[in-house]
Every structure is written in structure tokens, then in C-alpha cells.
């Protein structure tokens, strides 16, 4: 029918779909799944970094980290709001997260073990996230695209701050350099895995067709590797992949085989922190139930008072 054609034409022309426009149910579902997963990742992602706020080594670093984690909460908010334009409430999304039905980025199931992890998360994890997200700024769903513009801007700032923190540490003591190298060793492969399965194993062809996803996993991953190798050199750290080397013919860096068993194992709940992360979010939610109830009860009272007045 006409509205299907209109939808397809808009997509093909690179235009935006807005909340009030007609859209296929599968498009809506795909978006809800992807945007909420992204929102949950922001929220769960507050935990590994939050783990170091109380132990940040200087007040300046503490302030930077607090601001960063606060930004992540803000990203979560925009993204939940974008989801709500698709007719799903934030509470429903939260329940899906807490029950384990909804996913979040597996990267946050790795622990933050030393202070350099904070810098490395900024550099590698936020760096990989940005690679993934920049194409989303032009994705076909308007509210999501606009949220991503703002998020990408802030993430770039975080990435630079993370990298700067590492530069400072690499100029410091032997122990600091060891911390950075240790953190890089632990975060490199998980960061590479953030781009998801190889294109040949990827199941989200619809996302491409609908203009939600615009560049393939492998292309993004290659782009990330190419950019990161140089940054690692400047930093003076070794990326933990002996197969990593420049391929003149391809004009790209080759890199070693990814351990997909580990990837799927973490996705399926067997990462080091899956249980603790969800438990922390559940505890926050359950401990806070009385607060949310109180806020609602008070609003109702206020409304009743206004009516009576």
C-alpha cells in the first residue's frame, strides 16, 4: 500500500522516519531492541567505571570520572526517551534488563582492575563505541539519529580524556606504565569484539536495508584497528596481538583471529561480571522501589490537593 511505499521511499532517499510516521512493525521492534540495548549499556556501563570513583587518585581525575559517568546516565536517558517515542515505557525496558531478557554490551561484563582501566575504557571502549555510533547519527529513525549526534560528541570528549590520562601515566613511573599495559592487555580483544560477529555470521540484514545500520561489522572493526594501532604507538603500549601488522596490499592492518567462543560465552552470561552487574542493577532497583512509590504517592496527593483547591 501507499504508506509502505512512502516509508521505503523515505528510507531510500536517506530521509528520517519520525515517531508519528507509519513504520513496519519489524522496523519498530528492531529499533526498540537496538536502542534499548544501547540504553542499557550506558546504564550498566556506569558500574565498571563507578567502581573507581571513590578511589580516583587525584581530585581532578575524580571530577573527570564523575562527569563522565554522569554523561553516561544522560545518554541512557536520551536513549530511553528515543525508545519511548516507539511506544515502550522506561519501566518496561528496565524490567526487561533486570529479568535478563534484554541484553547490554558485553564489554561491561569485564572488571575494572586498576586505575588505568578507566583511561583504557575511554580510549578503546569509547573509541570502539564511537566507530559503531557515528554511522548511527545518520540512521533512518529521527529521534535515534539525533540522540546519537549528541552522544557521539560527548563520547569523543571522553575518548580524548581517556587517552590523555594514559599519556600522563605513560610519562610517569614504571608501575604506571605497567598498569596501562596490563589494562590494554585485558581490554584490547573485548574492544575488538564490540563490533560483533563477522559479517558472514551476522543476522541483522534488515538493519542494513532499513538504514539503521549503514556500515558492516567487519568494516567498522577494521577502521577501528587501523586508527588504534597508531595511537598505541604514540602511547608506547603493545597491543596484545602478535599477528597485528600492516598489510600494504590491503592498505589496512591485519590482525589475529578473534576468540568467538569467549565472545558468545560472555554474551550468554558467563563473563566475569555478568552476575554481579545485573545483581547491582537489581539491588538498586529493588532498594529504590519505596522511593519511586513515594514520589508517585506524593504526586497524586499534590494533584488531589490542586483539584480540591
Amino acid at each position: 500500500p501507499a504508506y509502505v511505499d512512502e516509508f521505503n521511499a523515505r528510507i531510500d532517499a536517506g530521509g528520517f522516519i519520525e515517531p508519528k510516521d507509519w513504520m513496519p512493525e519489524a522496523y519498530r521492534k528492531t529499533l526498540v531492541r537496538q536502542i534499548s540495548q544501547h540504553a542499557h549499556s550506558e546504564i550498566v556501563g556506569m558500574l565498571p567505571e563507578g567502581n573507581w570513583i571513590t578511589r580516583a587518585p587525584t581530585l581532578k581525575r575524580k571530577a573527570i570520572l564523575l562527569a563522565k559517568v554522569q554523561d553516561e546516565g544522560g545518554h541512557g536517558l536520551y536513549l530511553y526517551a528515543a525508545c519511548e517515542t516507539l511506544g515502550v515505557s522506561r519501566d518496561d525496558l528496565t524490567e526487561a534488563l533486570l529479568s535478563g531478557r534484554a541484553k547490554y554490551s558485553s564489554i561491561f561484563n569485564y572488571p575494572t582492575l586498576n586505575w588505568a582501566d578507566i583511561g583504557v575504557i575511554g580510549w578503546l571502549v569509547d573509541g570502539a563505541a564511537i566507530m559503531n555510533q557515528i554511522p548511527l547519527c545518520k540512521c533512518s529513525y529521527g529521534p535515534y539519529a539525533r540522540a546519537m549526534v549528541r552522544i557521539c560528541k560527548e563520547e569523543s570528549f571522553h575518548q580524548r580524556q581517556g587517552y590523555d590520562a594514559l599519556l600522563q601515566m605513560m610519562k610517569g613511573t614504571k608501575e604506571q606504565r605497567e598498569m596501562v599495559q596490563d589494562a590494554v592487555n585485558r581490554w584490547w580483544w573485548p574492544s575488538i569484539m564490540m563490533f560483533g560477529p563477522h559479517d558472514k555470521d551476522s543476522v541483522h540484514v534488515d538493519s542494513m536495508r532499513w538504514g539503521i545500520k549503514r556500515i558492516s561489522n567487519d568494516d567498522l572493526r577494521q577502521k577501528f584497528v587501523d586508527a588504534t594501532v597508531k595511537q598505541a604507538e604514540v602511547l608506547g603500549v603493545t597491543l596484545p596481538d602478535p599477528a597485528l601488522k600492516w598489510n600494504e596490499a590491503r592498505g589496512h592492518y591485519d590482525f589475529g583471529a578473534i576468540d568467538w567462543d569467549e565472545f558468545w560465552s560472555v554474551v550468554k552470561g558467563n563473563g566475569q561480571c555478568n552476575v554481579d552487574r545485573l545483581a547491582a542493577r537489581r539491588k538498586a532497583w529493588e532498594d529504590g522501589a519505596w522511593v519511586r512509590e513515594a514520589a508517585m504517592a506524593f504526586s497524586a496527593k499534590q494533584a488531589a490537593r490542586k483539584l480540591a483547591a
Partner: protein, 252 residues
């Protein structure tokens, strides 16, 4: 005339309040009842850490022994911190966190309002920058105290318990501290007992609105601002100082 040491300690008291309460609030990050509060609490922690940085820097300059904000924040032993005991108490639940924020920020607004006219121009400038933040903390936490106090039966009970628990520690706000009169005479800042009446005049009506009962004053005394803290302080410091103690003389 106020001595340099009295002046330093006066500024330290204000800076340590911000530092230690900022540290406590930052513990909430990722664990708040709603996402908006995760952000609000992180934001207030950030404000307080920012204030602490300016105030400790100023205190270090006054002291003249080359201690910067980080040496002061991380490398003093417990007895040298000058924060109010109230600021170091564990967060406990959301009610206690919000009631504390309200009691403290109301005090802070009054204090900063006076400090903007300080003869210590740097202190005045810091107060000027901090006042807006403190006002926001007061507004935000006051709204929550009302909402929780006048919310459900459970929220009322928890908020009343929070007030009962915290109230005795507020006497310390106004306890005379050494050198305060000289500080006041020099126009650096008020002796804190000068703020008591205005503080009570603001707190009581809000508690009435929140349907809460302000407990009577008791002889309970706490001594954090004199360097004698509660048992909670040592644990807070063990965490906060960990990196600086483990890796001395290191730049981050």
C-alpha cells in the same frame, strides 16, 4: 587579627566538608533509585569536589607549606581533616542521603552567602562560584525531603528516622571553633554560630511541610570539625586515599 593558621583552618573546614560529602555522594553512582537521581547525585558530588579543589588549593596557599589540593585531600591522617561529622556518615538509604543534603546545603547556602563578602578575595570568589550550586542542592534535596516525608507510610517512616538520626550531628555546625571570632573580626567569614538562627528558621518550616517532627536538642556532641571523627571516617579514608598511599609521589 586572625592568624594565618586560623585562616587556613577556617578554609579547610569549608573545603573538607565539600570533599568528604562529595566522596560520600559519589558512592551512589550507579546505585540510585531512579536514573535521574544517579545523575543528580553524581552532579552534586561533582559540584562538591569542584568546590573542594578550589578551597583546598586556597588553604594550601594560606598554609604556605607547598601542599596542593591533592596532598591535602589524600595525604592527611584522620585527625587533620576538619569536616563536620555529618558529612562523613555513611549514606545508608536514600532518605538519609537526602535529609543530610538538605541539612547541610541549607547551612552551606547561608555560609557561602556571607563569604561572598569576605575580605579574603579568593575565598569570596570561590563562594560566589559555589553559591549557585549550593542553592540548587538545597532546592533539590528540600523537594525530596518534602516528597519523601509526605509520600507513603514507609517513606515517611524512613525520612523521620533519617532526621532523628542526623539531627544531633547538626549541633556541631554551630559549635564555636577556635579562632572563629578573630576570623569574623577580620571580615574573612562569619563565626558559624551566627548562622544558627537563620538555619533553624529555614529548616523547621520545611520539616513541617514534609510532615516531619524535628527532634528536641540533646547534649549529644560530635567533633569532626575539631579533627575528632566518627568511626566511619577511617573507612572512608582507607578507600579514598588508597591510590595516593600505594603510589606515593606519582603524577596522574
Amino acid at each position: 587579627m586572625a592568624t594565618n593558621q586560623e585562616h587556613t583552618e577556617y578554609v579547610l573546614r569549608i573545603g573538607d566538608n565539600a570533599l568528604i560529602l562529595g566522596q560520600r555522594l559519589s558512592e551512589w553512582c550507579g546505585h540510585a533509585p531512579v536514573l535521574e537521581e544517579d545523575m543528580a547525585l553524581a552532579n552534586m558530588a561533582l559540584d562538591l569536589i569542584g568546590q573542594a579543589r578550589m578551597l583546598l588549593t586556597r588553604a594550601g596557599a594560606l598554609e604556605g607549606e607547598g601542599r596542593d589540593e591533592d596532598r591535602l585531600a589524600f595525604l592527611r591522617t584522620e585527625g587533620h581533616y576538619r569536616n563536620l561529622t555529618l558529612c562523613e556518615l555513611p549514606n545508608h538509604d536514600f532518605a538519609r542521603t537526602k535529609v543530610r543534603n538538605y541539612l547541610f546545603s541549607t547551612f552551606q547556602v547561608l555560609l557561602l552567602s556571607r563569604l561572598v563578602g569576605s575580605t579574603d578575595a579568593e575565598l569570596a570568589a570561590i563562594a560566589g562560584k559555589s553559591l549557585k550550586e549550593a542553592r540548587y542542592h538545597q532546592q533539590h534535596s528540600g523537594d525530596w525531603v518534602i516528597r519523601l516525608g509526605d509520600g507513603t507510610e514507609e517513606s515517611h517512616r524512613r525520612t523521620q528516622e533519617a532526621l532523628d538520626y542526623l539531627w544531633p550531628y547538626t549541633a556541631e555546625f554551630f559549635a564555636p571553633a577556635p579562632g572563629e571570632d578573630a576570623i569574623a573580626a577580620a571580615g574573612i567569614g562569619p563565626a558559624w554560630h551566627e548562622l544558627e538562627q537563620s538555619w533553624e528558621a529555614q529548616v523547621h518550616p520545611l520539616m513541617v511541610e514534609a510532615t516531619l517532627t524535628v527532634p528536641p536538642r540533646t547534649p549529644f556532641k560530635s567533633y569532626g570539625k575539631f579533627g575528632r571523627h566518627s568511626e566511619h571516617m577511617g573507612h572512608l579514608l582507607a578507600t579514598m586515599q588508597y591510590m595516593q598511599r600505594t603510589y606515593p609521589d606519582t603524577q596522574w
